[in-house]
């Protein structure tokens, strides 16, 4: 199972003076079960790219498909394929609308034509996945929740659709460090238990390094780097800085220690490993 982009280009407002090619001839395959981070500066084309991945935008050239089904088609099959790719937009809490958390999460599954019993099962499961206690929160107004809880409620609405792929556009923007960690604990549990594919757009190098297995760096509408996050952060620092990106703090700390003469192995990509290594060198337990 995979989402495939085959020579996809996307142009906004073609044939007008405002014509802008946001994605240029991108070919890409993402398997179910992958966790892919997409990074790139504002205006690099990453949001346009992910919206081509779930059929919200249809390629100007080339094709986007899920298991061979063209996502821009008008057939029932194409519609079903699009429904298998869930999308959580930036600040999803702005899209909460119902009077209770239950009604909000139930909106999607109900539109699938499920019975009310089946809907309730979906809502319970989805709320459990995002760590919102059903009895406490289901009857409450989504607008009385904290920022982090609102975001989880909004994500539950997408999870309740049982997607095979989940696209997250900056899921942690505006959250405090504690809420960020909680949110990712839940996303990782979902990822592992259901084996879905996750595609995450992020401005946080720390999150890309910590959670993703594969990272795409987008610049001027093209994929300029595609590989394991650790390898890219180790080998492509210059390229990342030129593209308006950065490297995670642990790489900077390791560099600072090296400048002061500590001889650390080249491949340190994780704070725990670095701490253990520093302790070893300093003869600490």
């Amino acid at each position: 199972m995979s989402i495939k982009l085959d020579h996809v280009s996307y142009t906004y407002m073609p044939g007008t003076p405002y014509e802008k090619e946001a994605v240029k001839d991108v070919s890409l395959e993402i398997q179910k079960g992958e966790f892919v981070a997409v990074i790139g500066h504002t205006g690099s084309g990453k949001s346009t790219l992910v919206q081509n991945l779930n059929g919200l935008l249809h390629p100007t050239q080339g094709t986007a498909s899920l298991d061979g089904t063209d996502l821009s088609g008008k057939t029932g099959e194409a519609k079903q394929a699009r429904g298998r790719i869930g999308m959580v937009f930036q600040y999803p809490e702005h899209q909460l609308f119902a009077e209770t958390v239950y009604e909000d999460v139930a909106f999607g599954p109900r539109n699938l034509g499920l019975s009310s019993e089946e809907v309730e099962v979906r809502v319970r499961e989805a709320m459990k996945f995002v760590g919102l206690d059903f009895d406490t929160y289901a009857p409450r107004s989504p607008f009385s929740l904290s920022g982090g809880q609102m975001r989880r409620a909004a994500i539950a609405g997408v999870v309740a659709m049982n997607p095979d792929y989940l696209i997250l556009d900056e899921p942690s923007a505006g959250l405090d460090p504690g809420s960020r960690n909680n949110l990712f604990a839940e996303i990782m549990a979902l990822y592992k238990k259901r084996g879905i594919g996750i595609i995450m757009v992020t401005h946080s190098m720390e999150e890309a390094a910590k959670y993703a297995k594969r990272m795409l760096v987008i610049c001027k509408g093209q994929i300029i780097l595609d590989g394991k996050p650790a390898e890219i952060f180790l080998k492509e620092k210059e390229c990342l800085l030129n593209a308006g990106m950065d490297v995670p703090e642990v790489y900077k700390l390791a560099d600072a220690l090296r400048v002061k003469g500590m001889r650390l192995p080249y491949e340190i990509t994780d704070a725990k490993l670095l701490l253990a290594e520093v302790k070893r060198r300093k003869g600490l337990k």
């Binding site: 904290s146 920022g147 405090d176 460090p177």
Partner: protein, 276 residues
């Protein structure tokens, strides 16, 4: 020296969607002095944004008082003056743009208070120069990057004559380069033009650049001090849903393992020097 902002027993109570009384701010006593660069950190819901909205009278105290340049925010006659003195920049750059051309956007505020044309042109030019956006004066704001849009919003407050700028998570939606641009701009305005800066953020690496860091928790000031003092309190920060910088966490862990390190290590360079 007179404080730019002074709150006494500031309390803010509101009724939420489930009809509960919520105390968002609980007796805050605070002074922010002219020319200070203050960062405010705290978990979601700790009251940071509510506090910031009291600084230019977008919200009014339920109890207690807020004075800006000695003017009480509860006096309606003071509101115009207060809002000219303290500018606000919000999280989402796209929600703050009102015009189709950068210089018109910056001119919007001062034009509304009746600044004469000649003076207006001068103010807009100076404000755009101060944020390094003069080359973009005739550009369309919606085509700019996030960092550039936020700098245009900052220029808007400068053109209005604000000597105090309050930024509520100005970098939450920006890429790493945009984040660096905003921090650089605010430090420069603080140093060169003595603009008082109140900078709310979830990025501890940004708060480290302030002179004073205020930590909010459940509507109260949990503790405050220099970045060195605040960010050395590694486990207390974690209990509040926050995070110390990596170097401070390392120093904390290494000390636990018996390393003798000086107090107040918060940057990578300080840690590297102490271990060398």
């Amino acid at each position: 020296m007179e404080p730019v902002i002074e709150t006494k027993g500031l309390t803010h109570v509101y009724i939420d969607a489930d009809n509960n009384r919520v105390t968002a701010l609980d007796g805050i006593d605070l002074q922010i002095m002219s020319g200070e660069f203050v960062a405010v950190i705290g978990a979601n819901g700790s009251g940071k944004s509510t506090l910031a909205r009291h600084f230019n009278a977008l919200l009014l105290p339920t109890e207690g008082s807020v004075k800006v340049h000695g003017l009480d925010t509860l006096e309606e006659d003071n509101l115009w003056k207060i809002r000219q003195n303290t500018g606000m920049v919000f999280q989402n750059p796209d929600n703050q743009i009102v015009a189709a051309v950068v210089e018109e956007d910056v001119a919007f505020g001062p034009e509304n208070i009746g600044v004469p044309a000649e003076e207006l042109r001068k103010r807009v030019e100076e404000a755009l120069r101060a944020v390094d956006m003069l080359d973009y004066r005739e550009h369309a704001p919606h085509l700019l990057s996030g960092g550039q849009k936020q700098r245009v919003a900052i220029a808007g407050t400068l053109a209005l004559g604000s000597d105090c700028i309050i930024l509520d998570e100005p970098t939450a939606m920006l890429d790493p380069k945009g984040r660096r641009e905003i921090l650089h701009t605010m430090r420069k305005l603080n140093k060169e033009q003595h603009i008082t800066v109140v900078y709310i953020t979830h990025f501890m690496t940004e708060a480290m650049q302030a002179e004073r860091v205020i930590v909010m928790d459940q509507g109260k000031i949990a503790f405050q001090g220099t970045p060195k003092e605040v960010f050395s309190r590694v486990d207390e920060l974690e209990k509040l849903g926050l995070e110390a910088p990596l170097a401070a966490k390392f120093a904390f862990e290494l000390r636990k393992s018996g390393a003798r390190l000086p107090q107040g290590i918060i940057t990578n360079e300080e840690l590297a020097a102490a271990l060398a």
